[in-house]
Every structure is written in structure tokens, then in C-alpha cells.
Symmetry: D2
Subunit: 293 residues, 4 copies
């Protein structure tokens, strides 16, 4: 088998298998407010093995209008994201948002910036006067990363979830993509949770319904391409085929990002935060959130 | 009773009672590497009521040499802090550092900056080759604040502590002082833990041996004076006595800080982080930490 | 004479002289979109000596609706500011925006954050296709502060102004107020330029029409109260009168700010930036700016 | 001619011409405190055309010990850099440091962070008591970038230089490299100044002795590899040769950086700042600078 560079997007795993139908995998496309939405549904174990991902729904929205900074692109994008999330969330009950990743590394700050834009209400629900009693109860945790806490981030999320017993967890994180043109302009939403290490039986790190007992919706934004992946992909576009292992060792530890990664990550992560807020509090508008956050 | 402005320092509570001996309270002074160290020991319930603080040891170190940026002041200060902490810590067993406060508010970022300077080892102890097996096991958590997480910070610390079962917790936070000259140049260490809300039976928020079952060492740095407190204190120095309630309402929500609070908080919080590291890993030096952190 | 604490606001200088009319000083009040606008006009040398400020117009807008985060408060505030600025600016010709102050000190970062929100066009005017040829030519400079550059900030602005020969300069800076309730919710606009050191003949530091030969509009936001000033002001509210010199020495170097100064400075400084943009490019809207900046 | 990917390092231009001697180019190597130092000397127009760079000295120091965080690596590196700079600087007279680049884009923040670590003295030299009269006079300017100021950065530097009339200018900036292993671990020092746009007659942007009348020493740190450059270079290592134009269009706007670019840029830029300080103030030590900056 040829070189299969790394991606966290089910859409890209499917693309790399060619255009033919795959057993156990369904694929749908639609449009919401001018944004293209694709959905890869892995229906069973056969599909799961074909795409190396757990069975479940993987929905991808491509926010090209946001990148072109079109009028009302932010509001439309946040609303589109909210409607996709609403489909996957239970109708009622408290929700825990987990902002994953390392805020000190720009392309890994998606979870942190989304968390800063989350409307947190758990502590307000019982406030006197009942002014907040119509809001859904939402809490947020930023577990940090292993290198700076000494603890697996999923351990921290699980510990907090056991305290506040949410009806669902929404986990936000940065992803790796295979194609540079998707960086900071795509969001993947899945109901399979987060399984770092490709889900190869590493239950210790798994953040999913299996280990938590409640649905775990993962929201991810691709912000980097592995440098070896990019080289292979550019080479392939040029008709060459490169040796995988030599590439890996030559490009190790390097990442490819857009030049203006700082502002691009800030923009799309805020949109993710607002999209989650609108999904959880359907009575609010973007300008309400501008005032409350 | 006259105006008793707010302070988190036991030393200042004692000062405000005059120079006479208080029943149930002992007071010691000494010098470490040119830094003045005071200790208020609240021995029993009588002392506790006199100073409105739980019984225990409250040690204050005044880092004047750091402010004057004297040669080797940082290293001496970190070592002095380490020796004071070592006295209060159990000799063995894993330690959980909790960086409290809100990093988005400069004077409240002490816990966050100290946490960034913590040497975290829990995930390395079992690394192959055993190169880290001589280090004490240390983890770190930053729970965030209620307003941005919806969860009491002590709840998050407790949840994590229940997972990793440390032998002790070190909680770092910003404090309020009554005297401006102590801001960003004083550290208080206590074995009584952290009891927001003055310990008046608010066990939900208490982070202490009572609720955790292991020693909780609190390390605090005063970074703000309440504006009403400062006005009262300046007025008193000028021989006037102001009406407490009118002051409170006039100065509500305002804080007094040094003009260069950003760099002062960064400097002393790094020193606190290094002091904790040296207490937990006595085989390391400041220049080792410079390389490892 | 009693204690006259420091302020940069002409409005407060006038308030401290009581409600009687002052020779050489006129005072007007009006309302724009629900925001209160006051104007102190110092007409001649007599008025100038009475208020210790150069002759000219000092317009103050109080942005209470912004603080209460009312709907459309940001857009209304930016538009109100734009209309006040338009009155003082020449109708045509390039404009140089100078973002003064020290971005590393939160309450002094007003000029920096406003500059980040300035729509800069000078380099685009001659772009091929002429798509930007309808925009007014705008450049921006951040001169830094003496302590970190070694050069007076006004020297840097003057050097740049001599290169690009603007028709007017807009200088944005943080101010000191005497009353805490004005912090981060008031903007003062004046056509007298900036005269650090109270204009006492220190022409080296003066940034004004005198030294530049073009109008200098200063836009200032009060973000701090001097601690001694606050103590005196709170004491006066309580009926006491404090000794000025003792206060000064006791409170030296301390400042009073709102607790959430970081977010408040960010909010009002962005509004100032947008207000300037709308004044200079009347064909644009706030949502245009959201897309362009 | 094959693919010649972009680099700002004279060393890499020479490498790409093979190991043979080039007319008009000399090459020297030595070692300072364990750091490898290479020097490419372009002696005349023939050498200049061969390497596409102006005639002059290009000195490269590889700071591998810093990356490995060896003991005293920072101090040794700063001293080595200082000795290299001292060779190129005039012995006396004021110096202007120019921190170039865009601090809002992490890999472009080298100039800004170096400037923050510059010891600025111009405003202190005439202080009463003469305590600073032994120090060399140093000023610093950060001109910003065209996109956020509307003005060429070299225009701002030139305007300030005309005011303070330095004996030399030191310009610090980020560079592009061709080889990933040099990122954030190499410093290039040259006496040819900075000529963005490859010096192809764009005198408007040139910051050099030609336009300023005083020596301009440029200090640069490679922090990015162009993505197309990296792909070509990895492909070449794997024995393939890619089509230049297709690569350029596929990888446009993307950059390759180390994953931990934020901390790596901070570390090496501080070292550059300290190296400049030690070159300009030979009576000071690194721990003096720790106290003064």
C-alpha cells in the first residue's frame, strides 16, 4: 500500500479510498446557508475497518464564506453549526463543554478559545429571581495537556463529569488535516467522541459514550498539516511518489500552517464557541451572545 | 468597633489588634538569606476567633530584595520559599499543585503563572529507562473560576485529587492585602488550606484537610488592596477616621494595584513556581529548572 | 487652597471649580443616541489659567450604555464618536493615527488596541484597479514609550508625520480621571493636542498644531485614578479632608482600576478605533469594519 | 536550472551551489564556546551575482547547545553573539535598534521580542548624578509592518534615525530558511543591512548604509520554511525532483514551523536581545541584564 498520510477527518479518509462506494459507509451532501455540509456515516464494523475510525456520524462543514469574510458569514456559520449540533445532542439536561488542547501553542488553542466563548450557566440557574431558569445548564472545563499537568486530559474531563453528571459532553479540539486548503476553514462534528491514538484499544484515553455513559459530541477544527504529509501530497499532485519512512524522519516535528494562523484560529474558534452556545440556548441570538460573553 | 478593612494575611489581622499578646496566638520572626520571615501560629479556638482565621500556621516572607532586583535575589528567594514549604509538606508521596484564579485578570493570574512554572513529573515517572524515577511525582491542575466554568474551582480540584490521590495539595492563589507596600512582594504560606468566604461554614467551597483528607498547603501572594480599604488606611495615617459603609459603597468594585502590575505579578509568580519546584525536587537547582521548564 | 487631585479631563477641572460660571469658559451639554455629551470650551487665556489647560474644545462622551452592554450600544457609540470627531477633522487629506502608551501595561494599552482596530489605507490607495481610491488615506504609528525606546513618543510621531505629511493627526492615549465612575466609560476628544507635563512650556514633548503645523486631535480614555486622588475623593464624600502631601507619599505609584480592567480596556479601545474609522471613512459601516480589520 | 527554493541565509545560497569554490566568495569556519560559526564573504560583484546577495560579510552561528538546553548555553550563546556583533559595530556613538516584523504573527515576532529585551539608555545618559554616563547610548524603535501601519517599516526607521543620528543601526528580523533543521536555532549577522525584495533596485525599501549613511547591521533568525520549499527539499532527499511552478501554486501561503514555535521564538529572540546588549555594554553581565530589563 502507498503512502497514507495522517488525517483526523473521516471525509479525507474516504477521499483517499477513491470515489467508489465502500461497504458499511454511507455518504451524504447538502448545503446550509451557502455552506457545504458532507456527512460520512460509518454503519458497522466493516466500514469502521475500511476508514480506521469508530462507527458513527462524521459531519463536515466547510466555512468558505467565513474565510472570504462575506457579510453575515459569521452569524450564518454559527447558526449552521448550531443546527448540526442540535441534531446530535439530547434535548434536555446539563451539558459539559471540554476545551481540549494547549493554549500556549497557537494551532492547538482551538479548544481554549472556543471555551472562552462558551456561555456558562450552571452557576446561574438557581440564582434568586429565576432570571436564568429558562437557560439550559452548561459548564465548561479546560483540562490542559499531559505535558503541563501530568494528567491525561480525558482523566480530568471524566473526573469533572462524574461530579456534575451532564446529559452530554461536547469536546472541542484542534485536528490534523491532509489538505492545506481545509486548514482553519472546516469543522468536523462527530457523535463518536474523541479517541486519541486512533482508538487502538487505548481505553485509558478514550472520551466517549463507552467510558462516560453519556453521549460525547466532538467538534474539531483542522489547523495543521503534518509536514511529511504535505510533502507527500504536493509530490503526488506533481506525479511523484515519495518514500514514506524517509519523509517521516526528515519532516519529524514540523507542522504546516497558514501564515496568519493566529488570527485564523481566533476567528474560527470563536465561531465554534458561538455555534455551541446557539445549539444549547436556542432562544438567544448572536448579538445576545456578544453582550453576555 | 472601628473600620476593619479586608485582608487575607494573618500577619495583618494580628497587626490590626495592636502589639499586645493575644491569647491562643503565637508570633515568631526570623531571617532567611536576608528575607524577613514572620509566623503567626493560631493555636486554638480562642486565637481563631480573635483573628477570624482557622487554627494553623501562617508564614509570611517579605521579598524586598526581589523588588530591588538585587543580585541572586531570585535564587535566594526561591530557595527560602522552598525551605519554608518543605517544613509543611509530607516527606514522600505525590503532590497535586492547584493554580487558582483567573488568568485573564492580571492581578488574579498568580496561580496560573506559578502553574506554568511548575515542574510536572507524574506522567514521566514510569518512563522507560527510569531516568525520572528519582523525581517526586507532581501533577498540576488549573480549575478556572466559577464565572467562566460554572463550577466551583475547589470542586474541580477535589475531583482531580480523588483520581490521582496525592499525599498533599499545594494551592496557589492571589490574595488581598491591607497595606499597599506588601503588594507583589510578600508570600503567605499556610497549612490551613483555602477557605473562601472566611470559613463561615461554607464547606462546599473549602479546600482543606477537612474535606480532602490530605494536607492542603496554600501559597498566596497579595496583589490588590480593596480601594475602600486603601482610602481608610491612608485616612488613618492622616489622622482621620472614615465611615465604613459610605466608603464601601463609594469604592465598590475598584482595586488598587502597582502601576507595573503586569511585570510584578509575572516575576513573583515565577518565583513561587520555582520555590515549589525546589521544595518538591531538592536535588534540582534553579538553573536545572531554567532548562526543564 | 484645598487638595486638587490630578485629572486629565477638562470636565473634571471645571466640576472642581463649582457650578458657577467661569470667565473665558463655556459649557454645553447634549445627547447623541442616548449618550450624554458635554463640551468645555476654553475661549481665551483667562479660561486657560482657570482650568490649567490650553484654550480649545474638550468634548466628553459618557458611554454608559456600552457598560450596561445594551443592544446596539457598540454601534451607536462608535457612530456618536465618529460624528464628534468629524466636526474637528479637516474634510480632506491624509490622516496619521498615533497609538500612544505602553501596551505591556493594561490600563495604558488604549492607544495600542485602538491602533489595532484602525483601518489603515495609505498603502492601498494606489493599488492597481483603483478599488481603494475612494477611501481616505490613513496611516498609523505606535511610537512606544520613553522607558522602552529611549525616545520621546512625540518625537517618533513627529518624525513620521514629517515623512507622510498628513492633513491632521489623531492621537489616542489613556488618561487619568478623578472619579472612579468614569473609568473605561468616558472618552474625551479635544482639538488642543497632547501636552504631557501640563503644558508648562515643555515644547519638546508637545504634540499639537504649534509644533506640527497641522491639527492634532487627541482622543483619550480615563482608565486609572491615582490612589491618593481616590482616597482624598472618598474622604471628601465622607466629610473628611486629608493632608495632600502625606497622601501623596503614602499612595505613591499606586493606581486604582476596575477589577476587570483587561476586558473593559479592550472593549472601549476597540470602540475608539471603530469611531475613528467611521469618521475617516463615512461610506463604511460597523459590519464592513468587522470584515476589513 | 532546477528548483531553487527561497532562503534568506547566504550560507544556504552557497550550499546550493555545491562544495566547489566560487569566484568572489570566501568561506570561513570556526568555533566559539562550542557553537559553530560560518562566514560567507561576498567580495565583489561577481560573488554578489553568484549568490544573489549584496557584497559584504554574512556570519552564521548555530545555537545547537541552546536547543539542547545545555547548562550555561544561554549565557555562552549571548556572549558569542555579542563578540560577533562587536566586530561589525563602530566602537563609539549611539546605536539605534530596530525590531522589525509583526508581533501578532508568532514566527514574525523575533524583532519585537528582541526589542523587549534591549537595554535602552538614550533617555538615561544625561540623568542627574551621571550614574548612567558610562553606558553607550542606545535607542529602540519598532516600526510595525506595512499592513497595519500603511507605512514601509524602513521609512519609519529612517525617520527616527534622522532625528537621533545614530552611529549605527542594528535591525532584527525573522528570516526564511531552506532547511527545517535550522529553524529557531541559527542567527545570521550581516553588515549589508536589510534589502527586502532581494535588493532588485527597490531603494525605497532598502535599509542599508547606502540609504542611511551609517552602518546597518542586520541580525536575523530563520523561523519558517516555505511549504513548497520544504516539499521540494524533502522530495530531493528522497531522490525525486518536483515541478517548481506546480509546487508553488499548491503550497502558496503556507509555512512550515516547529510545533512549539511559540516558546522557541521566545527563547532565541531573548538571546538575540541579550547578545546585542552585551555587545553594546561590554561592562555588563547576563545577570545584570536580568535585573535591568
Amino acid at each position: 500500500m502507498g503512502f497514507l498520510p495522517r488525517t483526523d477527518l473521516a471525509l479525507e479518509e474516504r477521499e483517499s479510498r477513491g470515489s467508489a462506494d465502500l461497504e458499511g459507509v454511507r455518504f451524504l451532501e447538502r448545503d446550509i446557508s451557502g455552506y457545504r455540509v458532507s456527512e460520512v456515516i460509518i454503519e458497522n464494523e466493516i466500514g469502521s475497518q475500511a476508514l480506521c475510525k469508530p462507527a458513527g456520524r462524521y459531519i463536515t462543514i466547510e466555512l468558505d464564506r467565513l474565510i472570504r469574510r462575506e457579510d453575515s458569514a459569521f452569524e450564518d456559520g454559527a447558526r449552521a453549526l448550531a443546527s448540526l449540533l442540535s441534531d446530535l445532542l439530547p434535548e434536555n439536561g446539563p451539558v459539559l463543554i471540554a476545551g481540549l488542547g494547549n493554549p500556549a501553542i497557537t494551532p492547538d488553542a482551538v479548544g481554549h478559545i472556543a471555551a472562552k466563548n462558551a456561555l456558562v450557566t450552571l452557576h446561574l440557574i438557581d440564582a434568586p429571581g429565576g432570571v436564568f431558569s429558562d437557560l439550559r445548564s452548561v459548564a465548561c472545563v479546560e483540562p490542559g495537556v499531559l505535558g503541563t499537568t501530568g494528567i491525561e486530559s480525558v482523566e480530568v474531563v471524566r473526573a469533572v463529569a462524574e461530579k456534575i453528571r451532564p446529559a452530554a459532553v461536547i469536546a472541542v479540539d484542534a485536528l490534523a488535516s491532509r489538505r492545506a486548503e481545509r486548514l482553519c476553514r472546516t469543522v468536523q462534528i462527530t457523535d463518536t467522541g474523541i479517541v486519541p491514538g486512533s482508538g487502538v484499544g487505548n481505553a485509558r484515553k478514550e472520551l466517549s459514550a463507552n467510558t462516560l455513559g453519556v453521549p460525547v459530541i466532538a467538534v474539531g477544527v483542522p489547523t495543521v498539516v503534518d509536514a511529511a504529509t504535505l510533502a507527500a501530497s504536493l509530490a503526488e499532485d506533481c506525479g511523484a511518489r515519495l518514500d514514506e519512512d524517509r519523509l517521516r524522519s526528515a519532516g519529524g516535528g514540523l507542522i504546516v500552517t497558514p501564515r496568519d494562523i493566529d488570527s485564523k484560529v481566533a476567528d474560527i474558534s470563536k465561531l465554534v464557541g458561538y455555534g455551541i452556545d446557539l445549539a444549547l440556548q436556542p432562544s438567544l441570538s448572536v448579538s445576545d451572545l456578544d453582550m453576555l460573553i
